[in-house]
C-alpha cells in the first residue's frame, strides 16, 4: 500500500519538476530573444511578463523534488551529539511542519484566487501581454499540494518504518 502510494507520489513529483525545468528553459530562451531583439530595435513584447510568471513555475516546480532528495538546508551543528530518537523526532517534525506550510500555501493561494476571481469578479493579469495571475497561482496551488502530500507520506513512513525515505543528497 505504502509502496504504491510512494510510487504515485514519485510520478507527481517528477511531473512538477519537469514543469519547472521546462519553465527554466523557456525563461533562458525568452530573455535571450528579448536581449538580441532589443539590440536590433525589436525587443520581445511581454518578455518581462513571461519572465515574472515563469519564475513561479520554476520556484514551486522544484519544491517537491527538493524535499524528496533532502535538498532543504538544515542546521546539523548538533547532529553528532543527538540520540537517535531525537533525530527521528526532528525528521518527523520537519515533515509535519513542511506539510502544514505547503498545505497552507496551497489553501491561501486558492483562497486569493477564489476571492478575487469568483467573488469580486477581478481577473488580474500582467501589464503587457495579459497573462492571468490565476493560472500561475493555480500552478502554485497544485505544486504545493503535491509537495504537502509527499511530506505527509514521509511522516507516515517515518511512523511505519522509521525510515525517512529521503534520498541521501542532503545528509552530511
Amino acid at each position: 500500500m505504502l509502496a504504491r502510494l510512494n510510487n504515485w507520489a514519485d510520478r507527481l513529483i517528477r511531473l512538477t519538476a519537469l514543469i519547472g525545468t521546462v519553465g527554466l528553459v523557456v525563461e533562458v530562451t525568452v530573455i535571450l530573444v528579448d536581449v538580441i531583439g532589443r539590440f536590433f530595435g525589436a525587443p520581445l513584447t511581454g518578455a518581462q511578463d513571461i519572465t515574472a510568471m515563469g519564475m513561479t513555475l520554476i520556484v514551486f516546480g522544484g519544491m517537491a523534488l527538493c524535499d524528496k532528495i533532502g535538498g532543504h538546508v538544515n542546521v546539523d551543528l548538533f547532529e553528532g551529539t543527538m540520540p537517535r530518537w531525537m533525530i527521528w523526532a526532528g525528521d518527523f517534525a520537519s515533515a509535519i511542519i513542511g506539510a502544514v506550510i505547503f498545505a497552507g500555501i496551497a489553501w491561501t493561494t486558492w483562497q486569493s484566487i477564489y476571492l478575487m476571481r469568483f467573488q469580486m469578479n477581478i481577473v488580474q493579469t500582467t501589464n503587457i501581454i495579459d497573462l492571468q495571475f490565476d493560472w500561475f497561482k493555480g500552478a502554485i496551488v497544485v505544486m504545493s499540494i503535491v509537495t504537502a502530500l509527499a511530506m505527509t507520506l514521509r511522516a507516515v513512513q517515518l511512523i511505519v518504518t522509521g525510515d525517512n525515505g529521503q534520498e541521501s543528497k542532503g545528509r552530511a
Partner: protein, 434 residues
C-alpha cells in the same frame, strides 16, 4: 504580553527549531507564522503566506537565482569549470592556498557584475567547490572562502545593498557605489591574507602544487579560453549597456550552453540534468528567501526595532559608542535575519539617530553593508552559508561555519579599520563627485 517579549520568545524558538534540525526555511516559516498569527491574526498570517509566495516568486530580479545556477551547472557538466581551475592551478597552484585565493578573486570579479551576495555564492560555489576538492583542498577552507567571498557581491558595486540603503535614506547611489570600491578591495585582500595565514599554519588545507613551465601555463589558459570568453562577454555586455545585470544571468547561461554544444561537451541528457538540478537548488534558495520575509514581518509587528531605537536615543555616551552599539545590534540581528530585511526594518529607526549625531551617512552606509555581510555568514542564520550548503550538500554545516570563522574575523578587522580610517570609504566619492 508585550510585542517585544513575543518577538524575543519567537527568536529563541527559532534557535531551538534550528537546533533540532528543522530545515531553515521551515523553521523561519513556523516561527514567523505563529508570531504573525499572535501579533496580527491567523487569517493575516495565512494570507501573507500566499501573497509573499506569489509576489517573491514572480519578482523579476530574482530570476538570477535559477539562471546563474544553470550557468554554473552547465559550466561544470561540460568541464569548463575544470579547465578554468586547471588554468588557475597552473598559474598559482604552486602557492599554498593559491586556488582559494583565485576563488576569492573570482568572487570579486563576479561581484562586479552582480549586485547580490546570493547569486555570487551560488554561481562561484557551483563552479569552484568540486574543483578545489579535486586539488585536495580542505572542505572547510573551500566552503568558507565561497561563503565569505560571495558577500563581496554587496560591497563591490553594483550592489543591491547600497541601492536599498540609498532609497531608504535618500543618499546618493553613485557616491555609495564609489565608497564601496576601496573597502571591497581591502576586504578582498584581507581574505587572501587570511588564506595565506591559514595555509601557513595548516598547509594541508590548501596543498601546494608542482611548479609549471610557461608553456604549460599558456596551454592551460588556452583550455580555459571558452569560459574566460563567457566571463568577458557577460561583464562587457553589462558595462556597454547591451543587457542588464539581471539579463546577464541568461546571457551567461546561454553562452555556456552554446559553447558546450559547439565543443561537443554538452548533449541533451547532460543539459537536462543541469537544468533540473538548477530547479531543485532554486527551490531551496527561494523558500529560504520567502520564509525570511515572514520573519521580517513578525519582527516589524513585534516593534523590537523601535524599542532598540528608543533605547539608542536615550543613551548619554559619545558618538563612537552609539555607533559601536548600532553595529553590534546589526551583528546580533544579522544572526537571525536576512540582510536586506534587516536594513528595511532598522534604517527608518537608526538613520535619524545617525543624522542627529552628525555621522557621515555614506560612511555609515559602508559600515552597515559590511556588517550585513558579516551577518550573512554568522550562525545560526547565515544566509550565505545556507546558500553554499545548497550547492555542496555533502559538507556539513558545522564544517562550513568553522571554515568561515577566520574570514568573519577578517571582516571584523576590516570593519575596525574602516571605523578608524573613514577615508578608506570616503576618499573616492569625495574626490570624484563634488
Amino acid at each position: 504580553m508585550s510585542g517585544e517579549m513575543i518577538g524575543l520568545i519567537g527568536l529563541i524558538s527559532l534557535f531551538v527549531l534550528l537546533g533540532l534540525r528543522i530545515p531553515v526555511a521551515f523553521a523561519m516559516f513556523a516561527v514567523g507564522f505563529v508570531g504573525v498569527s499572535i501579533l496580527n491574526s491567523p487569517q493575516a498570517a495565512l494570507s501573507q503566506l500566499a501573497s509573499d509566495s506569489f509576489s517573491l516568486a514572480a519578482k523579476v530580479e530574482l530570476v538570477v537565482v535559477p539562471l546563474f545556477i544553470l550557468m554554473g551547472n552547465v559550466a561544470t557538466e561540460t568541464g569548463m569549470s575544470r579547465k578554468l581551475y586547471d588554468a588557475a592551478y597552473a598559474w598559482i597552484g604552486s602557492i599554498r592556498g593559491g586556488l582559494a585565493s583565485a576563488t576569492v578573486v573570482a568572487c570579486g570579479g563576479f561581484a562586479a557584475l552582480s549586485g547580490s551576495s546570493v547569486a555570487s555564492a551560488l554561481t562561484i560555489g557551483r563552479v569552484s567547490l568540486s574543483e578545489m576538492k579535486r586539488f585536495e583542498y580542505d572542505d572547510r577552507l573551500s566552503t568558507g572562502v565561497v561563503a565569505a567571498g560571495g558577500t563581496l557581491g554587496i560591497l563591490i558595486p553594483p550592489s543591491t545593498g547600497f541601492v536599498i540603503y540609498a532609497l531608504l535614506t535618500q543618499e546618493s547611489i553613485g557616491r555609495l557605489f564609489l565608497a564601496g570600491v576601496l573597502p571591497g578591495l581591502l576586504l578582498l585582500s584581507m581574505f587572501i591574507l587570511t588564506i595565506l595565514v591559514i595555509t601557513w599554519f595548516k598547509p594541508a588545507m590548501g596543498p601546494k602544487g608542482p611548479s609549471t613551465t610557461f608553456t604549460e601555463k599558456m596551454r592551460s589558459t588556452g583550455g580555459a579560453a571558452p569560459i574566460l570568453l563567457v566571463i568577458v562577454l557577460t561583464i562587457g555586455g553589462i558595462y556597454t549597456g547591451i543587457f542588464s545585470p539581471v539579463e546577464a544571468s541568461a546571457v551567461g547561461a546561454g553562452l555556456v550552453i552554446l559553447f558546450g554544444t559547439l565543443m561537443g561537451n554538452l548533449n541533451f541528457a547532460k543539459f537536462w540534468k543541469a537544468a533540473q538540478d538548477s530547479v531543485v537548488t532554486t527551490a531551496t534558495v527561494m523558500l529560504i528567501l520567502i520564509s525570511a520575509y515572514m520573519i521580517k514581518t513578525f519582527l516589524a509587528l513585534s516593534h523590537i526595532p523601535q524599542w532598540l531605537g528608543t533605547y539608542l536615543e536615550g543613551l548619554a555616551i559619545p558618538v563612537i559608542g552609539v555607533l559601536a552599539i548600532m553595529l553590534a545590534i546589526y551583528l546580533i540581528l544579522g544572526c537571525f535575519l536576512e540582510g536586506f530585511a534587516m536594513m528595511v526594518l532598522s534604517m527608518p529607526i537608526f538613520f535619524p539617530v545617525v543624522q542627529q549625531l552628525g555621522i557621515d551617512p555614506i560612511w555609515f552606509g559602508v559600515l552597515v553593508v559590511l556588517t550585513l555581510e558579516m551577518g550573512l555568514i554568522s550562525p545560526p542564520v547565515g544566509l550565505n552559508v545556507f546558500i553554499v550548503k545548497s550547492v555542496a550538500p555533502d559538507v556539513s554545516l558545522a564544517k562550513m561555519f568553522r571554515g568561515v570563522a577566520p574570514f568573519w574575523f577578517a571582516m571584523l578587522v576590516t570593519l575596525i579599520l574602516l571605523v578608524a580610517f573613514p577615508q578608506i570609504a570616503l576618499i573616492l566619492p569625495n574626490t570624484m563627485i563634488q
